[in-house]
């Protein structure tokens, strides 16, 4: 039997994290093929509703990645995102969603290696948790 492969949705900001993901590829740094990427202009564009939608659809994990604080192409977008995600993460964990399901990272355009590390970690975490059940609409 084939090993179960989780599916993880990754929202990446165009200017840093998406560029970091590109750099990982250009540098041929290998990472697990479990992510499906949605490119957005800024981590500030990511509405928690869309993260909830991913969880409802059965994605086993969701990653949101933006520019490091101070690097935001839109000056402050990631600062607002950081507040939104802090609150979302607390609430999801309070309700009993496993901490590894929804994760966040800052990856700059120069951090191809870090991008790969982040994907490795998220994939491993999600694999350990097993297929998502809570919140999934059957």
């Amino acid at each position: 039997m084939k090993e179960w492969q989780p599916k993880i949705l990754a929202f990446l900001c165009n200017w840093c994290s998406y560029a970091g993901a590109d750099l990982a590829g250009v540098s041929r740094i290998q990472y697990p093929p479990n992510i499906r990427v949605i490119r957005v202009p800024c981590s500030g564009r990511i509405n928690p509703i869309s993260i909830m939608k991913c969880l409802q659809n059965g994605f086993d994990g969701v990653l949101v990645s933006g520019c490091h604080p101070g690097d935001c192409h839109y000056i402050t977008g990631n600062y607002y995102a950081r507040r939104k995600f802090a609150v979302l993460k607390t609430l999801l964990e309070f309700i009993g969603i496993e901490p590894g399901r929804v994760q966040f990272s800052w990856v700059s355009a120069g951090e191809g290696e870090k991008f790969a590390e982040v994907i490795k970690k998220v994939t491993e975490d999600v694999k350990k948790l097993g297929p998502a059940k809570k919140l999934v609409k059957i």
Binding site: Q5, K7, L9, N14, W15, C16, Y18, A19, A21, D22, L23, G25, V26, S27, R28, I29, Q30, Y31, P32, P33, N34, I35, R36, V37, I38, R39, V40, P41, C42, G44, R45, I46, N47, P48, S50, K53, C54, N57, G58, F59, D60, C67, H68, G70, D71, H73, Y74, I75, T76, G77, Y80, A81, K84, S108, A109, G110, E111, G112, E113, K114
Partner: protein, 1011 residues
């Protein structure tokens, strides 16, 4: 044709950040720019840097968008691997000879797949990575190079040197290798030339005492920067070169090759203190428990917000600062380095470190002399391009300008400012007209697709074997074929090659496609190309979506072809789902009123006004005082010997005589409404009120000397400020004081908790006025009590002169501030006794002074707050105007159409204010020179029926693009929106959406993935 025909062409030499900025500004003004660069890529030094101070911004993240903008701009032609060999002719009509080296790779054909690099057998040390890594003989200068194509290093290529190999040619499926390529000489006819060829790092081999190259663990700061870089040879994991372990203790040695009389580098490199602090902070962030120590003479944190960074490094990060010049380094067993140094009190000390980083200075390029000869320009005593103080962007030859560090050490924002400033100087030699159209290229009319059922065309790229070698492309094609709304699916060998682009255009027509998906590489580099193809085919460019199945799929999952194929299919399906929901977007044209408002009639404001007026645009110059001149009225001399009063009078005269400038004195701005291109401002002068319509705003409101209460100021007439002292010196009044002994105290109210910033000019002013006093009273004793002497850049030389003349510099620190008391307690104006701790003598010294001069801080104006509110632009914590980006947009605000210069932005010298004013003016000209500009296409819009007027979006928008209207409903100013979507994601009622990244599109993309 007469050779005197007006010329729109301009040559920019050197594509570092200064050259890039100059090219972008010139091209925006409508010039035809030729940007030449010696290396195979534009970018210069910045891509080598990991982070930038004082914000720790990722250097590449902020530079890359400018690089691609530069490469894409229709007004800029890039000439990589090229150098300027000669210039002849006259300003306005130069003939420039350029040698373009053979690259042996056809940039039109190369798709940068990298197969050649894998095959190439020859390894060469990599100069970009400071020799810390090897590259191949066919290579890219760095991973994010622009242009992105490979080049062959002829010096090392086996075939080109020994006549055998050609492996790259065999593997290249794009047939891009061309061993027949030859060096070319091109001749360009240009109206003006901008030189921006930068600097070289100092080679520390001459400092035998530090053992560079002898001791493995002694590295230069630039090498260390590459080590720190996440994309560098160590992937950011710094290790000790001798043993590969993480270092515990590292030492930074400052002023290696700077402030060094012995090696004839008696100037300050201006940037090393800050980059050492930055590297120490970043290294500490990388390595837990790391103990960095910085050995320095003075910490020169003179720039905006630098002192706060310095303070944070010490208090928050625990970076240790030791005021000492390291005498020598020796190596003990295992590679540990022993540093010997004298402490300030003369006591010797030794400490061991795992690594030593030499903070090497900035030097003129090695070939400068020859280069200067070819161009017939003169160099200064160090070998930097010679300029004069008040014309810091002019070389000694008319029509040839200089920017960046080529004329002396500069950090990034100063280089950017000088680049934009040089553009202002160029304009008088270029025949530029107001630009009618936004785009230079003609496209067929766009087909109306609204209401049509989506007909999606899907093109899946093999990218040679880059994608197809991992992802099963035929399987992906079969999969895509059967998805809803997909009318046509096709695989292409190289989607970006011209023949494939033609195929896409044909298929759009043949199948009446109204949405296009290309699954290939990254939209970051290729989206513009495909969008243009859609336009050529008569489709709106926003009806396009990409699936990144190379950079983020085949290249990252090379050993898992099946899973990579699954992922690619999902990514394609997501792209199709989004494409179905794409709608055509318009870029709203915004008319530009070709008039400028300049606020502030000091030197910066007048300089900016003159640049704009000389270019033929109307300027309204608003000054709150009764006369023009600002702070410059109180400056009587400069360190370099130039006459500021003459400059002032000439500038005022030119302003008054220029018919395009309307001056308002005793004026107050009461209201500013509108946005880029269309401002309306109400100005009150006396009882008269006028309304000005204008397209841009330059803020040049200045600053003032702080009204201090320290050190008996205001109580004893022998205590004066540095500005007052300067006035005394230039009148007879100084005689009244019979100055035999005078004391100056530096950093009064600067660099303390309330004003934790350096006022930048006071050290220079103290040196200047000390030297002046010495001229008048050679026997006078002068004591300067300082915290750090910050005579940065080429001003360092005068600090040396002052010491040679016997002026005594005594350091104090905040814990032991000097004590001042009157000698005669009953006489309020008696001579003064100044007591201070001398750290060298390690004892208190007492000085009798006839005069005490206080170098008081430069303070932001209180009125800034009001103006900032009117303009909706931010101030920093100290009350100075905060630019859009401290590194790369030093004169712009985040809000388009508003610019800043002079002391309003932060303390600076006269010449720096002038450069910044010219920069602000030329940034303003990039707007004024267009009849219309285009707003972004991917911007936000409000559904008024859903808006409940809570105002979260208004708070959040970084560009002041949202306001609540009279009904309390949010409205977006399309001219200001940058399309980040922060408002969209924060709107609870879903009333705002972001075009191009709509909720619907994200929803459909999420739903497209089958779990």
């Amino acid at each position: 044709m007469s050779s005197n025909a007006p010329n729109k062409s301009v040559l920019v030499v050197g594509a570092g950040i200064a050259g890039i900025q100059a090219s972008l500004d010139l091209a925006e003004l409508g010039a035809d720019v030729h940007l030449i660069e010696e290396t195979p890529s534009i970018g210069g030094r910045m891509p080598q840097l990991d982070k930038t101070f004082p914000t720790n911004d990722c250097s590449l993240c902020i530079l890359a968008p400018k690089m691609s903008e530069c490469a894409r701009h229709p007004g800029i032609t890039l000439h990589p691997c090229s150098s300027l060999t000669s210039i002849s002719g006259e300003p306005g009509n130069f003939v420039c000879e350029i040698t373009e080296q053979a690259k042996y790779v056809d940039p039109e054909k190369c798709v940068a797949c990298g197969l050649c690099e894998q095959k190439c057998p020859t390894k060469v040390v990599d100069e970009f990575d400071m020799h810390l890594r090897k590259r191949k003989a066919i290579y890219r200068y760095f991973l994010q190079s622009i242009p992105s194509n490979y080049v062959i290093d002829a010096e090392h290529c086996l075939y080109l040197t020994k006549g055998a190999c050609r492996l790259c040619e065999k593997i290249c499926e794009a047939h891009a290798i061309n061993f027949e390529d030859k060096d070319k000489v091109i001749s360009l006819n240009c109206g003006a030339v901008v030189l921006s060829s930068g600097i070289d790092p100092h080679d520390p081999i001459v400092h035998a005492q530090y053992g560079y190259k002898r001791f493995k663990n002694v590295v230069t700061s630039l090498e260390f920067e590459r080590m720190l870089s996440a994309s560098g040879p160590l992937m950011g994991h710094v290790t000790v070169p001798s043993n590969g372990k993480e270092p515990k203790r590292i030492a930074f040695i400052q002023c290696v090759g700077s402030r060094d009389v012995e090696n004839k580098n008696d100037y300050c490199s201006s940037v090393c203190c800050m980059y050492a602090i930055k590297q120490a902070i970043i290294a500490k962030e990388h390595i837990k428990g790391l103990e960095p120590t910085i050995f320095f003479m003075d910490i020169r944190a003179f720039g905006k917000d630098f002192d706060k960074y310095y303070e944070r490094a010490e208090s928050q990060y625990g970076v240790k600062f030791v005021r000492s010049k390291v005498a020598r380094i020796s190596e003990s067993n295992g590679g540990t380095l022993r540093l010997r140094f004298s402490q300030e009190n003369g006591k010797r000390k030794e400490e061991d470190f795992d690594m030593a980083i030499l903070s090497i200075g900035l030097e003129p390029r090695k070939k400068m002399e020859k280069f200067a000869d070819c161009l017939d320009i003169k160099l200064d005593e160090y070998g930097f391009a010679r300029t004069s103080l008040f014309e810091p962007l002019n070389t000694t030859k008319d029509g040839i300008f200089v920017c960046g560090a080529m004329s002396g050490p500069k950090d990034i924002p100063e280089s950017v400012m000088s680049a934009s400033g040089a553009v202002a100087e160029c304009t008088k030699f270029l025949a530029l007209e107001r630009q009618e159209k936004v785009s230079k290229k003609e496209f067929p009319p766009e087909k109306d697709v609204i209401g049509d059922r989506p007909r999606v065309g899907v093109f899946i790229c093999h990218c040679g074997i880059n994608i197809a070698g991992v992802v099963d492309v035929p399987q992906a094609v079969d999969f895509a074929k059967n998805l809803p709304n997909v009318e046509h699916t096709e695989d292409l060998l190289y989607a970006c090659s011209q023949d494939c682009l033609d195929t896409i255009k044909e298929k759009i027509k043949e199948h009446n496609l109204n949405r296009v998906v290309v699954a290939s590489c990254t939209p970051r580099t290729h989206e513009p190309l495909f969008r243009e193809t859609l336009r050529e085919a008569g489709l709106n460019q926003y009806l396009f979506e990409m699936a990144n199945i190379r950079d983020q799929c085949s290249w990252a999952h090379m050993n898992e072809p099946e899973l990579a194929t699954e992922k690619a299919k999902d990514l394609i399906q997501m792209a199709i789902a989004k494409a179905r929901n794409l709608v055509p977007l318009k870029r709203l044209p915004i008319d530009i009123n070709p008039k400028a408002l300049v606020i502030g009639g000091g030197l910066a404001g007048m300089t900016a006004a003159l640049v704009v007026a000389r270019a033929g645009y109307e300027v309204h110059l608003v000054e709150k005082d009764s006369e023009l001149g600002g702070n410059l009225k109180d400056i009587y001399s400069t360190l370099e010997g130039d006459d500021p009063q003459k400059l002032l009078q000439e500038t005022i005269k030119e302003v008054k005589e220029n018919n395009s400038i309307t001056v308002y004195t005793n004026a107050k701005i009461e209201e500013i409404a509108g946005y880029i291109g269309n401002f309306k401002t109400k100005v009150k002068t006396g009882n008269k009120k006028s309304e000005i319509e204008h397209g841009i705003v330059v803020v040049a409101t200045g600053a003032k000397e702080y009204e201090t209460k320290e050190y008996l100021y205001g109580k004893n007439k022998r205590v004066v400020t540095q500005l007052e002292f300067e006035k005394l010196l230039h009148t007879e009044k100084i005689k009244e004081y019979k100055p035999r002994s005078i004391v100056m105290i530096q950093c009064v109210n600067s660099r303390e908790e309330e004003r934790l910033y350096c006022s930048r000019v006071c050290c220079g002013a103290a040196v200047k006025n000390s030297l002046k006093l010495k001229e008048i009273y050679p026997s006078a004793d002068i004591y300067v009590l300082y915290r750090d002497v910050r005579t940065y850049g080429l001003k360092e030389k005068y600090f040396g002169t002052a010491r040679d003349k016997g002026i005594v510099f005594i350091r104090y620190d905040l814990e032991h501030k000097p004590q001042v008391e009157p000698m005669d307690k009953d006489n309020p104006d008696s001579k003064l006794l100044i007591k201070t701790m001398d750290p060298i003598l390690d004892a208190q010294v007492v000085i009798e002074a006839d005069l005490l001069v206080l170098s008081v801080s430069i303070d932001a104006l209180q009125e800034n707050k009001e103006l900032a509110k009117l303009l909706k632009v931010p101030l920093n914590a100290d009350g100075f105007f905060l630019e859009a980006h401290v590194k790369l947009r030093p004169v712009d605000f985040a809000t388009d159409g508003i610019f800043v210069c002079g002391l309003a932005h932060g303390p600076k010298y006269i010449e720096e204010s002038m450069v910044q004013a010219k920069a602000a003016a030329s940034r303003a000209l990039t707007i004024l020179s267009k009849k219309t500009i285009e707003a972004e296409g991917t911007i936000c819009w409000v559904n008024p029926d859903k808006c409940s007027g809570c105002g979260v979006c208004v708070e959040i928008c970084a560009y002041s693009a949202i306001e609540l209207n009279e009904e309390g409903i949010a409205e977006i100013n399309e001219a200001l929106c940058k399309g980040c979507g922060a408002c969209t994601a924060s709107c609870r009622s879903g009333a705002i959406d972001l075009r191009g990244f709509t909720d619907d599109q994200i929803f459909e993309a999420v739903n497209a993935v089958e779990i």
